[in-house]
Amino acid sequence: MDKDIDKLYKEIKKGNENKIAKAISMVEDGTKNALKLMEKVYKNVEPSYMVGISGPPGSGKSTLTQRIVQLWRKDDIKVGIIAIDPTSHFSGGALLGDRIRMNEIATDHGVFIRSMATRGSMGGLNSSIYDTVLLFSLAGYDYIIIETVGVGQNEIDIVKLADTTIFVTVPEAGDEIQAYKAGLMEVGDIFVVNKSDRPNSQQMVLTIEQLVSFKEGKDIWKPPVLSTNALRNEGVKDINKWINKHHTYLKDNNLLQKSRKNVIKAQMINLMEKTLNEKYIKPVLKDKKFEKYIDLIYEKKEDPYTVIKKLLLS
């Protein structure tokens, strides 16, 4: 068995696409072999540079991803892309449609695109995403792009993961009050107002610039606000320039190390929650007593706090 894991590890390292794809599925499904493989991966692999792309649905994340990758490919940089779309809370299924906007790079042998469903994680990032980052890194991909689900406010897990986070928005995304609200706007290292041909695009750039200008202090990263048109491939070189600048900034200020430790911490919390859920919460949900307690609480004979004590803490 362990011989098989060694063989799989070596094949991934060689860049064998079938094996990389299989390994990602194993991680997603949480198989026993996946744990054995990841044990070895965590102890041997340094993660490649991670770029997160976040923003509301339809803002152009996938199209921009394709454009950035096309630029990198001119320098023969190999790229792994993780494109995340939401799992339906009702059916458990998912429609993964990010590839539609990435057809121009779909057959490039220096690019590996993997679509992923969130599978129930709330922040849009589940533990298999960082594991996939490591698998891509092992396979020799120089840069990893993580494209999040079209997020709303407050889903900021991506910041804990990526080294550089790009927040993409569009001119129609709302007035300045929307932007002032806490949440995602605070988390971008680079802001992009896409679809620059639309009305009010410059106004949106100004709004975000004002917001960002509140960040003060020596050695503090001041996020740039860029204007792009991904379809027409305008402004993409600027994004690349700023990714490099941010990378240099992190290195010069010894922040890369700190950010990588934060990733491990976030992954630990993620995995602990998953483990507790599997071990303690799921069995309770399957227990017939659980439904009875729901009835009792409904009938006002019990309260949730006491019931939880009885179910989990006794």
Binding site: E17, N18, I20, A21, K22, I24, S25, E28, D29, G30, T87, S88, S91, G92, G93, A94, L95, L96, G97, R99, I100, N103, A106, T107, F112, I113, R114, S115, A117, R119
Partner: protein
Amino acid sequence: MEKKIKVLIAKPGLDGHDRGAKVIARGLKEAGMEVVYTGLRQTPEQIVRSAVQEDVDVIGLSILSGAHTYLFPEIMKRLKDANRDDIAVIAGGIIPEDDHTELKELGIKAVFQPGTPISDIVDFIKNEVN
């Protein structure tokens, strides 16, 4: 976590009719599957590469252009070359019954005609994968 069925819905060749493909994609999603949809006008190379990278269990080819006897053999050949001929391939769209035998001989597991209830396709896939 339990194993999810993953399906690639692809439209090979120069054929702009994607309503059927989108209905199937939605139907399979509602049935709890993870569905990758790659959009219109895919080459056999794109389809097979996507199937490999996504590690799908099933490929559903939707075609209404009449080019199935030309495009499907190329897709099946490329799947074999990629060592992934274990992936089940099914087809749908406008495919004359006269061609069904030829396609089955190629290794296509099923050809669904217009009007097929989505639940039939769901059942077929579930059976095929398990």
